[in-house]
């Protein structure tokens, strides 16, 4: 096998035991200041039956070792800062450093959620201003920042639909969800006591209007739609879809996971959407953190505003911000306190940095990048749906699978070329999907290198499919035995294990 790889070289990283395995009695990474009150006797105060003398197995290491340990672990990770991370539908874009600085400012990082409102006006203003900006971006009338992540935004939105329809006399039984949707959609709907009915997509990968008409009965509470959908295709008939759902008394929920294709270009409120969520960790650059924290604000039309989670931030005529808990129609609270405030801080800093023109240019670049990748790969990878792409494009492994190489294998080989893989095997309507979302954060040079890697892998598949099937070769571990992990789960370290 000729090495065509010009983008990556193996890199030495240190092995590193678990923190527990480095422990030795008597070490600590923190020295406490002296206690300035009389020392209490825990055993006496708590009682012998409650008192715990030690936590067995807990680590004892110095600060130096902690820094080295986690720094070494970090070098085993690939992040957006490392390079292109085209994980489709996750919007892995650059996370500006200034966001991190402002979120850690004393005052913003230290205010307590139960502190008197007069003493937290800065935090409340940030929440109010972020909500105002998100309402402007989506065209919606009101926003709650309480939901912790996209899935919780979905739950919140569907609960609001249910509360509204119940007020109108009948909450109905069913929510329609296209078969291209994220798994969180049906899972969230289920918690709201609704049945899920799947809608088959049409040949363009969009909602099939006839199929929808047949399903859209008076039993249907609403339609849950991702737009652009998970194929990266804009639902051209969105207005007509919304009109027909509304005509039957249903409401339209939009999963805003793919807002990175729309900001500054088009607004969901104009599509006929009644309620939607945004993912601050996708579109608005709050970091993905290795799997969170996220933030999933919900945005609604005016008639759904009374159902938003309590509390909401209000500003009175004297300019003072207050939390309004008195909301009799609210669906309730979906988490303690005021949501992931720290994520609102970061999202607002991002919006301010860009302003309206920057956000629009960001969208144009994200869509251009996806289309550029699509046009440069479509001759070597199968494009199962040829509808125009917006912010992401979805190929299938049909050509490569004929040689025994699946999307997951190509993804693993891509690692050897120095890139994070795309999303594999999703959406479910594409067999062997390669879902590529470059975002606006990759320049042409980075995209060219990625395209070259993908084309090179396609050639490798032709020449030596077995070679690709065993990738990656340059990582510190080779493929891991997921079957053994699931059959006999080892979910914690034990002494002498």
């Amino acid at each position: 096998m000729k090495n065509r790889n010009r983008t990556a070289r193996p890199h030495v990283t240190r092995n590193e035991d678990l923190i527990f395995e480095q422990s030795s009695p008597g070490k600590t990474g923190v020295d406490l200041p002296p206690l300035d009150v009389p020392a209490a006797s825990p055993e006496r105060l708590l009682g012998a039956d409650i008192f715990r003398s030690e936590i067995k197995g807990f680590p004892e290491v110095s600060e130096t070792e902690v820094i080295r340990h986690f720094t070494r672990l970090s070098t085993w990770n690939y992040g957006v800062d490392t390079g292109l991370y085209p994980l489709g539908s996750c919007t892995m874009k650059y996370n500006p450093r200034v966001n991190e600085v402002v979120a850690r400012l004393e005052g913003l990082a230290t205010d307590h959620p139960f502190a008197p409102e007069a003493l937290v006006q800065g935090c409340l203003e940030i929440l109010a201003e972020t909500a105002r900006c998100l309402a402007e971006i989506t065209g919606m009338d009101a926003v709650s920042l309480q939901p912790s992540a996209g899935a919780q935004g979905e739950l919140t939105g569907i609960l609001m639909i249910r509360a509204c329809l119940a007020d109108r006399g009948n909450p109905r039984r069913i929510i329609l969800i296209p078969d291209s949707a994220h798994g969180t959609n049906p899972a969230s709907v289920h918690i709201c006591g609704y049945e899920v009915r799947n809608l088959k997509s049409n040949a363009r990968g969009c909602v099939d209007l006839d199929e929808m008409d047949r399903a859209m009965t008076e039993d249907v509470a609403g339609l849950m739609l991702t737009n652009p959908n998970t194929l990266g295709v804009f639902e051209e008939q969105i207005q007509e879809i919304a009109r027909r759902v509304h005509a039957k008394g249903g409401l339209v929920y939009m999963d805003g996971a793919n807002m990175n294709a729309l900001v500054g270009v088009a607004r969901p409120a104009d599509f006929g959407v009644d309620v939607m969520h945004l993912n601050l960790h996708k579109t608005f650059t709050t970091p993905h953190g290795g799997g969170g924290p996220g933030s999933g604000p919900v945005a609604v039309k005016q008639f759904l505003e009374p159902y938003l989670p309590a509390p909401i931030v209000e500003q009175s005529a004297d300019g003072i911000y207050r939390l309004n808990f008195s909301r009799p129609k609210s669906i309730g609270r979906v988490r303690a306190f005021q949501g992931n405030f720290g994520m609102a801080v970061r999202a607002l800093a991002y919006i301010q940095a860009n302003g309206a023109p920057g956000l629009r240019q960001t969208t144009l670049d994200a869509v251009l990048n996806a289309n550029y990748v699509r046009s440069r790969l479509k001759d070597v990878y199968d494009l199962p749906y040829d509808a125009p792409s917006m912010h992401e494009c979805v190929f299938s492994d049909r050509k490569q699978a004929a040689r025994g190489v699946k999307t997951g294998d190509i993804a693993k080989r891509l690692i050897d070329y120095g890139f994070h893989p795309y999303t594999t095997s999703f959406p479910l309507i594409v067999s062997g999907a390669l879902m590529i979302e470059p975002t606006e954060s990759a320049g042409k040079a980075e995209l060219d290198a990625f395209v070259e890697a993908m084309r090179s892998i396609a050639l490798e598949v032709e020449e030596d499919p077995q070679f690709v099937q065993k990738a990656p070769y340059t990582t510190r571990v080779t493929r891991l035995d997921e079957t053994a992990a699931a059959r006999k789960p080892v979910l914690r370290w034990e002494p002498n294990s």
Partner: protein, 129 residues
């Protein structure tokens, strides 16, 4: 490939009938589609199962497959080996890796099931689609 003494469903289960007792498993085709089996969820003895309804599930690392009962009746046993060695389903799907034994309520229900030849024809037809 597919034993003649078994009867088959379109959902890829098999049943071995002995008077009013039925032994149920999943077919070789089903285990291949799923890949390495890591977990099996089964009813207990005494539970009731209904024809064409879900009675359990089989899991690989990245998929869950529900198992439908070919017949109605009362479960008399669930295979105790599968809890610790679910991989038996991959190695001996039509034999040692049976899932449950059922005391059948209506033997007439097996009339609509497929023979081994019919099942193999059905698989070919499915593949052609």
């Amino acid at each position: 490939m597919y034993p003649n003494e078994l009867l088959y469903t379109k959902d890829h289960e098999w049943i071995r009938v002995d008077e009013d007792m039925g032994t149920i498993g999943i077919t070789d085709h089903a285990q291949k589609e799923l890949g390495d089996i890591v977990f099996v969820e089964l009813p207990k003895a005494g539970d009731h199962v209904s024809a064409r309804e879900v009675f359990g599930s089989v899991e690989s690392v990245k998929a869950v497959s529900e198992i439908f009962s070919p017949v109605t009746g009362e479960v008399t046993a669930a295979n105790p080996k599968l809890h610790s060695t679910p991989e038996l389903i991959n190695t001996d799907p039509h034999g040692d890796a049976w899932l449950i034994k059922v005391h059948m309520a209506d033997r007439g229900e097996i009339d609509s099931l497929m023979s081994a030849d019919e099942y193999e024809a059905y698989l070919k037809e499915e593949k052609a689609h």
